[in-house]
Assembly symmetry: C2
Homo-oligomer: 384 residues x 2
Amino acid sequence: MEKVAIAGIGQTPVSENWDKSLKELAGDAAFAALQDAGSEEVDAIFVGNMLSATSAGQAHLGTMLADWIDARGVEAVKVESACSSGGSALRLGIMAVASGEFESVLVVGAEKMTEVKGSEITAALATAADADWEVSQGVSFVALNALLMRRYMYEYGWKHDDFAPFSVNAHENALHNPFARFHQRVTLDAYRKAPMICSPINLMDASPTCDGAAAVLLTRSERAHKPGRPTVEILASAVATDTLAIHDRKNPTWLRAAELSTQKAYAQAGIQPQDVDVFEAHDAFSIMAVLSLEACGFAARGQGPRLGLDGEIGIQGRIPIATRGGLKGRGHPVGATGIYQVVEAAQQLRGECGPTQVDGARIAMTQNIGGSGATIVTHILGIA
Amino acid sequence: MEKVAIAGIGQTPVSENWDKSLKELAGDAAFAALQDAGSEEVDAIFVGNMLSATSAGQAHLGTMLADWIDARGVEAVKVESACSSGGSALRLGIMAVASGEFESVLVVGAEKMTEVKGSEITAALATAADADWEVSQGVSFVALNALLMRRYMYEYGWKHDDFAPFSVNAHENALHNPFARFHQRVTLDAYRKAPMICSPINLMDASPTCDGAAAVLLTRSERAHKPGRPTVEILASAVATDTLAIHDRKNPTWLRAAELSTQKAYAQAGIQPQDVDVFEAHDAFSIMAVLSLEACGFAARGQGPRLGLDGEIGIQGRIPIATRGGLKGRGHPVGATGIYQVVEAAQQLRGECGPTQVDGARIAMTQNIGGSGATIVTHILGIA
């Protein structure tokens, strides 16, 4: 297998983009990645997206993007695994370059959520859960996460306040990311006073619906080098799955698929958890950040909130997360998120993060989660 | 790259399956393929599907299937390229085995259309076309194909009757396929009298909406052999794309992407058009079969209908198509179709087709088309 590197990165601001369509957002991110790479060569396109049929009346998004960015003729496809669609698309793009099948592969994550009406977006997001055994009971996606968080608090004795640092940290870091959805500081007081969405998840525990697209251009490692900056290489790419319905799991508060996916990724990269300098976690809800940190080996079982309370998730901490705002602060355009995470991890390794730069970052990990822990995609990046 | 073979095939009857859900259909096809292979080993799952969000309220179909067939933990993903979703999923599954990433990959195409109400299925199918520049004008998917057929008849001087052999041949062959949607003979008289859908496309020019799932288990070639039957090997797997909107093409009646995709496939397999013994074409509409035959090099430009009129598409003809009924007779459960085609091509190479067996078939080609020729996936199979 060939070594694969990220030759270029691109992203659009995460926002309510009323004046841009889904394909325009995807195209903007794609062009930014090509410009960053200093290349116009695209041999194949993988698009990560979850909701295009509902949000834009558009299936066939891969070929639509090839058409839109003047890469007509090129092989293209859409990849979907709910909220981990971006990560899954990257996984396949990496395989396509590593196998020698293609020289230059463009992977784009794109999602447009704001044009879907309120109740419809709730229904659309619930398609990530089990339609037969969860959604048919009337449970929404946030409600599933609320059940998880309530159970976790009961089992390990944590209070709601103990989750505040995840929201505070994400918003603090987002202040310095021009592409982030939010640029407002969140205090413990604001966290406490936030409106309840679905107890115990309040507004500050939940990532926002929004629009955005991010892209990476992948090539074989020896072709990715650009003078004046380090080359970011893929050290690992791994996926594991679990039951779609949470009630089918032996232990609902343990992300078994995250553990499996991360074990595979660590083995591929030949590293241990303590070697990770930056971790872009999937903090769609505070509880997901906590469960992910534990399953990846950064905290003991049931002790994830301790990392937040001890300041270990901050830029100077032991395992910095959400360094560009995470899903909570940068925003969570679902199918695009997995690519935003990787773009941000690459920015950290290149040393482009200004006030939220993790000093001397050499290994960055991303974890993209589909459903309530059903599909978990882990990538590890390093400097070539 | 490793040589890849089809270790097992499976399919459900194409029908209105009111008593089975999407995942049950997909599971039935998957189990049939595993049983046919005599194996329970699955390292990764690729699901081709177009409409699950609309038809079943379910995104996240890859992981749902892994969960359902007791392959929990295994990497899984859904692949979508409109009506060529099945072919695209197979393409990626082949890459996953050829690269050495996985030993055994299950590729399933599944679609459930009958539960979607009449007008909604028309809207859902139109998501294969360009939402911004075609569908926004009120044009449905069948209307786009009607425009193509009308233009083609005008340019080359064909009458509607000249397309009848495609429908007659497909239904004739479907009589002998127990999995086919229809088991009724169609005569020239019946073709003439069929109700008009969207002039010049009448009911006998159009494939039906229906439910179905098909599956193949892929492994490295040397592991696929089973005593007493030939091993079916993948000789080529190629994709090319074109503009999503038909009006953007220099020549709307020439499937440029089919030409590109087939040229790549012929080169990979090291063959010429005349070496193909069986061709499972994408006869979603009569006109698509004609355009595909021309672009693949089986007929001169504008002369596709001649193959039908001369009996060359029949089982004894020069280029037999729709040997198990094709999209018209077997049915067209959109995201599943690409896998049905490959299952049927494998049946031909194994010599399992009874009255519609093409004698001495050694090379079979399949072509799966997404949109009105926007994504074209070509596979060539041979006997190892």
